[in-house]
């Protein structure tokens, strides 16, 4: 240990270092987006697994920790095989069963209703499993300095926790959300490792409740205001006073012109967007608080984390993403991923020092297949 030769330093364990996480965008994402879109069209969507993989490879390489980028080692083939397995064990039987049921019974028949309920509940129960397995796959395919990440728990029990949280949320009109989100995050974090180093998560959901209550009670107010504003805009667009709106919508005004109906449709859509935007803006207060708090509860002994999320920046992120989605009719999806990852990376700070050289590869076996379930539910943007 008292060897002073710097050449041998690495073999004998290094000195603790601070970690700096950076996102450096690289050229080529636009071309990748276009290529993915075109190949997706040509292959009737089957290319999506390879498209996803290439985007991840690009974006992972843009994230660097202390100058060394992350490496994504997953392949399109793995994702495709994962999907095929899920297709064979879930999609195929479900399609056939519902096909046969629709043959045997009318749509309102109790058997069909029960089958649909079973299917719906089953889908909800598998949802958590899908999230967990997808995360496990991604972590196991993420390398930094040759060391993999992993998620070591049971996707079954996570699925049960996730389903329980959904039920509870429904039963408590949402009031269980902060506590259950914390439980879920705790499970995900504690199951996560980098090499042989395990993440930890400790804290209470209490500090989330004041901002949750604020958002909860303001929700009806904000929606009402947005609806009223929308109605005013509609009224202005039609050139009628708000009290005549009933007539404008009713069939009594038979001589309604096409321009009027176009304005009506446009303003109605605008109104709906306004309501959604108002709702999103309000709840970004809560999301920002949650992100910040959860980061502060997370440790990778001896490292601590802080995350600088604000409602304003979240709204900016969402609006920008929405704009990209609309303006590029979805082709620009990789840029949405990039913006989101960049937001997370730019605002994350790692505190403390760690002896990187002492991190050892964990010997966990790798899943051979990709995140099949998640593709079926289609809930990931990454």
């Amino acid at each position: 240990m008292n060897d002073t030769s710097s050449d041998h330093r690495n073999l004998l364990g290094g000195r603790p270092e601070r970690l700096t996480v950076l996102y450096t965008s690289k050229p080529g994402l636009a071309w990748l987006s276009i290529k993915n879109f075109l190949l997706g069209v040509i292959t009737l969507g089957i290319y999506r697994f390879w498209a996803k993989t290439h985007v991840r490879r690009h974006i992972w390489a843009c994230i660097s920790i202390n100058g060394e980028p992350l490496e994504y080692t997953g392949t399109g083939k793995e994702l495709f095989l994962g999907f095929l397995v899920i297709f064979a064990i879930i999609v195929l039987p479900v399609t056939v069963i519902f096909g046969v049921l629709s043959v045997m019974f009318s749509p309102e028949h109790p058997v069909v209703v029960v089958a649909q309920l079973v299917f719906f509940t089953g889908a909800l129960m598998l949802y958590g499993m899908a999230i967990y397995r997808a995360r496990r796959y991604r972590l196991s395919r993420t390398l930094w300095r040759g060391i993999r990440g992993s998620l070591t728990g049971s996707s079954m029990s996570f699925s049960a926790l996730y389903f329980g949280a959904m039920l509870l949320r429904f039963m408590t009109l949402g009031w269980s959300t902060p506590a259950m989100n914390m439980n879920i995050q705790q499970r995900l974090t504690r199951d996560m490792t980098f090499g042989d180093q395990r993440f930890d998560f400790d804290g209470r959901a209490g500090p989330l409740y004041s901002v949750y209550a604020l958002c909860w009670f303001l929700t009806p107010v904000v929606i009402l205001v947005a609806v009223l504003l929308g109605a005013l805009v509609v009224a202005a667009g039609l050139g009628v006073s708000i009290f005549d709106l009933g007539d404008a919508f009713g069939e009594s005004s038979g001589e309604q012109t096409t321009t009027e109906s176009v304005v009506l449709v446009a303003t109605t859509i605008g109104g709906i967007v306004l309501v959604i935007a108002a709702y999103g803006a309000l709840w970004s207060l809560y999301t920002a608080r949650e992100l910040t708090l959860f980061a502060s509860y997370t440790t990778l002994n001896p490292l601590k984390f802080t995350f600088d999320a604000t409602a304003g920046s979240l709204i900016g992120l969402w609006l920008g993403n929405l704009l990209i989605l609309i303006l590029t009719i979805g082709i620009g999806q990789p840029f949405i991923v990039q913006r989101t990852v960049r937001y997370l990376v730019d605002r994350l700070t790692v505190h403390g020092e760690i002896d990187i050289d002492s991190v050892v590869q964990a010997s966990a076996t790798l899943d051979r297949r990709g995140e099949g379930l998640l593709d079926v539910f289609d809930l990931d943007g990454f």
């Binding site: 009737l44 060394e68 297709f87 519902f98 300095r145 050289d357 050892v360």
Partner: protein, 365 residues
């Protein structure tokens, strides 16, 4: 740069895939292989240039990150630009550029995948339906038929004038003879305002009241009925249903959705009622054969067919949007009409008396 030198040594960085430690190593370039040594002169890897692969995309201002097939978890980082240039001449695959060979290979894989998918789709949509259709249990077939029939007929009433029904039974018997008792045929006339007929799974045949009233003789109705009977005997309605399920499977394969929603709706059930040209020709052939066997002239069949197809297009459609059976306007109608050749009929007989024909005409009254 000079790649022809026998031995060139550069310092490089090495991750062994076992620990996160960065190790300073020596990267030795020889004409036919490379070697990586520890500072202590211990050999870490010796390998061929063809086994080298980029671990991360190349990036300006960044070291070249490579891995070798003999030690896939390890990473070699080469910072020295001279070393990078030398290495690129020996292992050109590391330049990160698109290779025409690779593009061709990708296109080949996509094409092969497509061929497989197309074959799978072809089997699922053409061969499988016919085979599966015969295996559908009778109770299922019956339920399906009931389901489809109700969604076609909706609230329109089935014509049940007693004398008309007797005449209809007489006509059905005349066409079937003593065959097809095992099919449990159920023939209905429904008061729908268009000229049409359908074969529905489970041996159900529906003809519209308007079809009966537009026919100018019992042989014409018998022809239409014989055609529908052909569909029933050849399991076309069941096969069409299986085909729709297959189509849905293919769609969900492409979209990734589960979707039990498509099937079971009326639109897809309607599609059960329209068949391929080949199936129609088969049903025509069956009809002609069956009519002749029972001593019924095919002249009426041909005449009715020709009249409806050519002149009375306006009679088509209605609430079914032209999706019914005999009147679906497939290409090749001419040939289908031409294929019915009454001059080849043998001895023919009259199947209904004038009174019975009048009764049948009045079945919806």
């Amino acid at each position: 740069m000079a790649a022809n030198t026998t031995n060139t040594e550069f310092s490089a960085e090495f991750f062994d895939g076992q620990t996160a430690a960065s190790r300073a190593v020596i990267f030795k370039i020889a004409p036919d292989h490379f070697q990586v040594f520890e500072q202590t002169a211990d050999l870490v890897i010796k390998g061929s240039y063809s086994g080298l692969e980029l671990a991360s995309p190349r990036q300006a201002g960044q070291p070249l990150r490579v891995k070798h097939s003999s030690l896939p978890a390890a990473r070699i980082l080469i910072h020295n630009s001279v070393a990078i240039a030398d290495l690129l001449t020996l292992a050109p695959q590391l330049d990160g550029k698109v290779r025409p060979k690779r593009v061709l290979k990708t296109i080949g894989v996509i094409a092969a995948g497509f061929a497989c998918l197309a074959l799978f789709g072809y089997l699922l949509l053409t061969v499988a339906p016919g085979l599966v259709a015969r295996q559908i249990p009778e109770t299922w077939r019956d339920r399906l038929g009931e389901h489809v029939e109700t969604s076609v007929i909706k609230s329109n009433k089935a014509c049940s004038n007693a004398a008309g029904r007797t005449a209809l039974n007489q006509l059905v018997r005349a066409v079937t003879g003593d065959q097809f008792d095992d099919l449990k045929l159920r023939v209905k006339v429904v008061d729908l305002p268009m000229v049409n007929a359908f074969a529905v799974p489970g041996g159900r045949i529906v003809m519209t009241g308007k079809l009966i009233s537009k026919a100018s003789g019992p042989d014409e109705v018998a022809g239409v009925f014989a055609h529908e009977l052909g569909h029933v005997v050849l399991h076309h309605p069941e096969a069409a249903f299986v085909r729709i399920m297959g189509l849905q499977l293919i769609l969900s394969l492409a979209s990734g959705g589960t979707g039990p929603e498509l099937i079971g709706n009326v639109a897809s059930l309607m599609a059960v009622l329209s068949y391929s040209r080949e199936a129609e020709t088969q049903a025509d052939l069956f009809a002609v054969k069956q009519l002749r066997r029972q001593g019924i002239g095919t002249k009426g069949f041909r005449a009715f067919f020709a009249r409806i197809m050519k002149k009375d297009r306006s009679l088509l459609g209605g609430s079914l949007g032209g999706m019914g059976d005999i009147l679906s306007t497939h290409p090749g109608t001419e040939e289908r009409i031409e294929a019915i050749d009454p001059s080849k009929d043998g001895k023919t007989r009259s199947i209904l008396t004038t009174k019975q024909w009048r009764d049948l005409k009045n079945i919806c009254k």
